[in-house]
């Protein structure tokens, strides 16, 4: 490696500059996200092993089949509501990309506009989650309580709800932190902090975090609702 870099003009690894051409904060964010990925990985693998070591498991299509203001007696709507939630979160990732892009162009107006949309998306997702949790709670589900039978009709262990609330809760906490971070970014943008610095790099870091949280949701969604 030393010999190749010594002959090429860009001596990325030779000291005096960042080998990846990024400032330290972004590098730190990447390592933090790797670390966080291990936290979620550990949760999801724990969930998977417990589930496969258990003889029966509730059917997600039956558990998650409601939505707000659903008319009494109407036919179940499996996974409709969570699909909308997921869609909202993914759209908020798109608006985040647009905010970062506007930052590259030093377009303050664009940054503000798309950050607000991203924050709204995050809040909408959290609202949906709050509704879903309340709904499940009223059906008798909570940590340590599971009213849903296994798909074969036998009595289920409580680990379905235990893992569901723990992992979606932990993810929701991440979304909440992301919203807080985005609000801080928005305030800083409104007060021209980034204009003064001459760059919107901080938005990029917030964006990395936001995309990560979205990506994690895809896995959580798959594990709890689809499989």
């Amino acid at each position: 490696m030393t010999t190749t870099t010594a002959t090429t003009p860009a001596k990325y690894w030779n000291g005096g500059k960042s080998p990846f051409n990024v400032e330290y904060g972004k590098l730190m964010m990447w390592y933090f996200l790797m670390s966080d990925a291990f936290t979620f990985g550990a949760f999801l693998i724990s969930y998977g092993t417990t589930r496969f070591a258990t003889t029966g498991w509730p059917n997600a299509n039956e558990v998650f089949s409601s939505y707000p203001f659903k008319p009494e007696g109407s036919s179940p709507a499996p996974l409709i509501f969570v699909s909308i939630m997921t869609f909202i979160l993914i759209i908020s990732s798109v608006t985040m990309v647009l905010a970062v892009h506007a930052g590259h162009n030093m377009d303050k107006k664009g940054v503000v506009k798309y950050l607000i949309l991203t924050i709204l998306g995050g809040l909408a997702f959290l609202g949906c989650q709050a509704w879903e949790w309340t709904h499940l709670f009223h059906e008798g589900a909570w940590w340590g309580r599971n009213p849903f039978p296994n798909s074969d009709g036998t009595i289920s262990t409580t680990n379905f709800t235990n893992f569901f609330f723990t992992i979606t809760g932990f993810h929701g906490f991440h979304v909440f932190s992301g919203v807080v971070i985005n609000v801080v970014m928005l305030i800083m943008a409104l007060f021209n902090k980034f204009e003064q610095r001459g760059h919107y790099l901080m938005i990029e870091k917030a964006g990395l975090y936001w995309h990560f949280v979205d990506l994690v949701w895809v896995f959580v969604f798959t594990c709890f609702y689809l499989i």
Binding site: M1, Y24, K26, M28, Y31, F38, A53, W143, Y200
Partner: protein, 608 residues
Amino acid sequence: MSNEATLHANVDVMVPHEIHHGEHHEIHHHHESFISKYVFSQDHKMIGKQFLITGMFWAVLGGLMSVLFRLQLGYPDSTFPWLEDLIGKWGKGGHISAEAYYALVTTHGTVLVFFVLTAGLSGTFANLLIPLQVGARDMASPFMNMLSYWFFFMASVVMLSSIFVETGPFSGGWTAYPPLSALGSASPGSKTGMDLWIIAMALFVVSSLLGGLNYIVTILNMRTKGMSMTRLPLTIWALFFTAVLGVLSFPVLLSGFILLIFDRNFGTSFYLSDIYVNGVGALPNEGGSAILFQHLFWFLGHPEVYIILLPAMGMVSEILATNARKPIFGYMAMVGSLFAIAILAFLVWAHHMFVTGLNPFLGSIFVLLTLLIAVPSAIKVFNWITTLWRGNIRFTPAMLFAIGFVSLFISGGLTGIWLGNSALDIHLHDTYFVIAHFHIVMGVASMFGMFAGIYHWFPKMYGKYLNNNLGYIHFWLTMIGAYLIFWPMHYEGLAGMPRRYYDYSAWESFKQFVELNRFISTVAMIVFAVQLLFLFNFFYSIFKGRKLTTQNPWGSNTLEWTTPINPGHGNWVGEIPEVYRWAYDYGKDGKDFIPQTTPVGADESTDH
């Protein structure tokens, strides 16, 4: 990234804001308040000292605990009335109670592994050495670095407070296996003590994350001009892999703890199933598995032992080369073996679980991966010995401790190979053989690495020398004592003597070890006393030690010795020096040593 942004980013990268700050300080004789200099300091050198002193506090307390429980093991029939004065109801009638014994063993293990040999070791030397040896004014984020210490401090306060609660500190072993850790009703220590234990450990994880991220990006991003990765001193490589291990393994422990908190407080069954508990009856829980916690714990636990060992390895490499006046043998092999160890560290955790009912086929895969660690370990040992070979050795106390480290690492590594065979482990698991193995290879060896580091870098930390004669006494008594304490434990373990028992006198088969246990306990107390000698040397020398008269007392090549004797915040007055060579040009071309800052001469051959 747009061009402007890239440019700006690079300005940030190349000229960290501390530069101006640092130079400013040097020139104007800054006015720092006591608070900003000694308490909420953002200077990596001061933070390193804070970690060191806090670590030393815990080492004394943890060591004292081991003296107390060795008292029980060595003299189970004697009574010590002063115990009741010291620890109250835990020592009623001059006898340590069973609960107190388990609480002592658990707290000893936890604080020595995490607070002393992780925070006290990495925290101290990563902070002190990374900016100094890569040529940076400070860490990438001095503020996060400060937070890292204060999270550790809070963890310490919470852990300390757990010793004083009514029901005592946690007593289920440093590995905190459920059900003891998950059921408040399981034992006195499982109540408030365990809550505090988890809180302390969670704070500790945050501290280690904040520190680790900083160490990684500082090493990658803030190396001075010319300091390519292959010119880094081995200390830095070791600290780099340590930080990566920590950043990737502690979060898994955190997940495990979160599930544990739910099991303890919210009626979940992640780790609990319908077991029967004496005095409580059958549990209502269903479907959980205690083994799940073991997986999560050891996924951190095994990397953790290397988090403890790697910094010691790095410092030892540096100290051996410096004091043998020879280049380190096989630099790239040293880096490669560190890398291999870091990778393998993630792939062997189940060797702690061979007897949990693990599928024997899976076990055999873990045997293979575990024994593979012997390869990079052996490479390192051979390279250290070859570095010493025909060296012009200066036996400073640091050098003695470094050589002692190599000896201990060999002794303890060899028993690892026994344990790594799952068939042998059926006999050896949970016996004193394991205790002997990990105390020698991890506990004492890393302690030796830490001592070596302290003796070697004390002049950089305080501008004074430690007293050499006290250092020699400290070394020899500790070295001999450590072997006398832990070597016999192999025999006890081979004879089947289990670990974590309160009193062995009820077993006919262990009567033969009564004398031996007494002997071990006696030596343990002597060795503990010798450490107090070191403490005296340390604090006395800070104030009254012989003053340094030269910037580079050991004739070293690395950058920290190009700073002033008492460097200010910012480390170098004026420009940061540029680097032209690796750190190990000792005894080259008839020169005793050539610092990294010396440009390569016209007729000099370079290999790095």
